[in-house]
């Protein structure tokens, strides 16, 4: 319980008793939004090349270009380093090959009764050796490809932080054209170089079609 004294212009006062302490913030947030990024819209590939070049040279690090299709040649302009994805695929393929070798050789050429139903089951066919590797190549090959493909697809999604179903950019109506025909340069406010005035000035100097604050 807290009390407060209200004064009126006529010199009268009134005491009120409050259930909740007015010095403590209300627990229900009033709808508020915060700028998380500034986006600039462009309509040609060349314009976005020009803008990307300027933004990188200005020293920003938390920024990105969004386009409806992969733009070729923009990676060096944005300073994007080659991805490590091929190594993930190599690791996947190696895992698959080892798994295939183990599966075929273990189940066909070994017998460890202590393992119960997990034991291998050697079965002699036409006097062929139990570890007849050439005959096991097809399954080993297929498992190698399968695991490499998993590495490629899931590795790409992982490195890209996808699936990410919520993104403040989706609040922008303008940004819907990023998957259609427009190109966007987005600079995050979390960038150390971000400055409310300077960043907007920089983007304005690249002659975009539009500038917009992305609220979250």
């Amino acid at each position: 319980m807290a009390t407060a004294t209200l004064e009126t212009p006529y010199g009268l006062t009134r005491e009120v008793t409050l259930v909740r302490d007015p010095s403590i913030d209300a627990s229900i947030d009033i709808e508020h939004s915060e700028t998380v990024a500034v986006l600039a819209e462009y309509d040609t590939v060349d314009a976005v090349f020009y803008a990307a070049d300027k933004v990188r040279k200005a020293g920003y690090s938390r920024w990105d270009v969004h386009s409806p299709f992969p733009i070729h040649g923009i990676d060096p302009i944005m300073g994007i380093k080659p991805t490590i994805l091929p190594w993930i695929v190599l690791a996947g393929g190696t895992t698959g090959m080892i798994a295939g070798l183990f599966l075929t050789l273990f189940t066909m050429a070994t017998s460890i009764p202590a393992l119960g139903q997990f034991s291998g089951y050697p079965y002699l066919i036409s006097g062929k050796p139990l570890n007849s590797l050439p005959a096991y190549i097809p399954p080993i090959f297929e498992l190698t490809i399968l695991f490499s493909a998993f590495g490629a697809v899931f590795g790409m999604l992982l490195l890209n932080n996808l699936p990410m179903l919520y993104n403040p950019l989706f609040r922008s109506h303008r940004f819907k054209r990023a998957t259609d025909d427009r190109f966007f340069v987005v600079i995050e406010t979390a960038d150390v170089k971000y400055d409310e005035v300077e960043t907007v000035k920089l983007l304005r100097s690249t002659k975009p079609l539009a500038l917009e604050r992305v609220e979250d």
């Binding site: 990105d64 299709f69 990676d75 119960g116 097809p138 054209r177």
Partner: protein, 520 residues
């Protein structure tokens, strides 16, 4: 550009972009389309499908699918005796249809992966079609070995799962190789198809008209924003998947052919089956792509994206692999004679002149003689002829598997064990029903998913190439560069509607942008 008259169900003319001009590349997208027009056209397919015609086609497919459900129910409740399989023909429609559908399922990955590695940009308009067709065909194919085992509730024995019997699948068996090959192929092509679609589903999300479709497409597109940093890894993944799928696609039909080639039976025991089967699969797959693409481009307004040049290229690929297939048929006959092995010789005489000789002759007509018309330009640029030839090949490829399987099995070494094979109505309706499954899935695809890989098409359009570097200038067509100011700077007009720009080359339709090549 010149036009050619091309009546197909509905009359009309087509823009002829099949002429090769060494001064520049032919355009892959016609009608002076910008990026937004590509989006509109492809997203518009969904509205075009929301018509009575779509519901009628879908209804027909569903009723065919019910044939499959009924015959499968009959098969499960009664046993494989409902089929016409007997001794000596223990493999019949089930395996014929399996090989037929798996074969069709090859064109998708060939178009997506191999043509990508060869930098064939024209593939972008048809790869989604072909990949979808692949997935649906492999679903149809994968069903057959599952039900062929006789006791389908034990089909899990195909997989290496530890069990109370302490038994494992036999990895020396080509049938086991098949399980791994087809299983991997289905998984990898589904992944390939789906990740290829993520950016396009994101486009559908951003074009969604209702909350429900926004939610569903939003969920399916994984929150794709088209970030260039994402594209960078995405493209690397795409390239790697292509490089992985190429040996995979070649291995799958090779492994399918091992089912036959590793046996001792004359007619099956053939060392060159793997390349022969792969060529046949590509041949049949391209025929099916054309069978689907020709009506779709007419009725769904995709004429400017699946152009006559695409049809022409597909015909040429089909003719090329068709010649390999024809060569294989002839070599098979030659080797039978040359081997001096009388069982082999007797088998091939029986194949051509025995009780199933009609199928062998029909196969030659469909797969060897009819496709020869594709040598001629007039045939390749007439959609009716192309459609008919493609369907001859569809029939011919089915007959090829029929001939290989049934005519090899029905008369083996001992005349006392010879017999004949006749399909039962269950066999036939199950085959018809598998078309129902295929077309049901295909019509759902047309209605709900992006039928053309929009992002890929946009990336091979002339506007997609920036001009920051001087080395891009060698893409310029010198003749076009002098034709008008608009041709030298087509990039500045990206996204504009056709007609905003004066024509490039003299004699061109106004608004048609000159093509200026570029690599993917």
């Amino acid at each position: 550009m010149a036009t050619i008259s091309n009546p197909f169900f509905i009359g009309g003319t087509e823009v002829d972009n099949t002429i090769d001009d060494p001064r520049g590349r032919s355009p892959l997208v016609l009608g002076g389309k910008g990026f937004r027009d590509v989006t509109d056209t492809v997203v518009g397919v969904q509205d075009k499908c929301n018509t009575l015609a779509w519901y009628i086609c879908f209804g027909i497919s569903l009723s065919l699918l019910s044939c499959l459900v009924v015959t499968l129910g009959l098969l499960f409740s009664t046993g494989v005796g409902v089929w016409g399989n007997n001794q000596p023909v223990g493999w019949a429609f089930d395996i014929i249809n399996f090989v037929f559908w798996v074969g069709i399922g090859h064109a998708g990955t060939l178009i997506s992966a191999i043509l990508f590695l060869f930098r064939q940009n024209w593939r972008t308009s048809i790869n989604r079609f072909a990949e979808s067709m692949t997935i649906f065909a492999v679903i149809c194919a994968a069903m057959y070995p599952g039900v062929h085992v006789g006791r389908p509730w034990l089909a899990y024995w195909l997989f290496p799962i530890p069990n109370q019997m302490g038994m494992w699948p036999q990895f020396r068996s080509p049938l086991m190789w098949d399980v791994f090959a087809v299983g991997t192929y289905f998984t990898v092509s589904t992944l390939f198809w789906y990740v290829g679609m993520i950016p396009d589903i994101a486009t559908l999300r951003d074009r969604a008209k209702s909350k429900i479709s926004y939610f569903i497409y939003g969920f399916l597109s994984f929150g794709w924003t088209g970030s260039v940093r994402h594209w960078h890894r995405y493209e690397k993944m795409y390239l790697l998947l292509c490089a992985l799928s190429t040996p995979l696609v070649l291995s799958v039909h090779s492994v399918v052919s091992f089912d036959f080639a590793t046996s001792q039976l004359p007619g099956w025991h053939t060392t060159f089956f793997p390349p022969y089967f792969v060529a046949g699969a590509v041949f049949g797959g391209f025929a099916m792509v054309l069978t689907l693409a020709i009506p779709c481009r007419q009725w769904l307004g995709l004429k400017e994206m699946i152009t006559m040049r695409h049809i022409d290229n597909m015909c040429k690929v089909m003719l090329g692999v068709g010649m390999i297939v024809a060569f294989a048929y002839i070599v098979e006959l030659f080797i039978a004679w040359y081997s001096y092995y009388h069982y082999e010789q007797a088998h091939f005489l029986n194949r051509a002149f025995g009780p199933y000789g009609w199928a062998f002759m029909a196969l030659f007509v469909c797969n060897v003689f009819v496709p020869q018309i594709l040598w001629f330009k007039f045939a390749r640029s007439n959609l009716i002829i192309v459609f008919i030839v493609a369907n001859f090949i569809n029939v011919g490829m089915w007959l090829e598997r029929f001939v290989i399987i049934v005519s090899s099995l029905h008369r083996d070494f001992i005349p006392g064990s010879w017999g004949m094979y006749y399909p039962t109505p269950v066999d036939i309706f199950m085959f018809v029903g598998s078309f129902g499954l295929f077309f049901t899935l295909f019509f759902l695809f047309l209605r709900f998913l992006p039928v053309i890989a929009m992002a890929e098409v946009k990336s091979v359009m002339p506007q997609a190439h920036g001009h920051l570097h001087a080395d891009h200038d060698d893409d310029h067509n010198p003749q076009l560069a002098t034709a008008g100011a608009s041709s030298t700077m087509p990039d500045t007009t990206a996204g504009e509607k056709p007609g905003d720009e004066p024509g490039g080359q003299p004699g061109e339709k106004p608004g048609e942008k000159p093509w200026r090549g570029g690599n993917w």
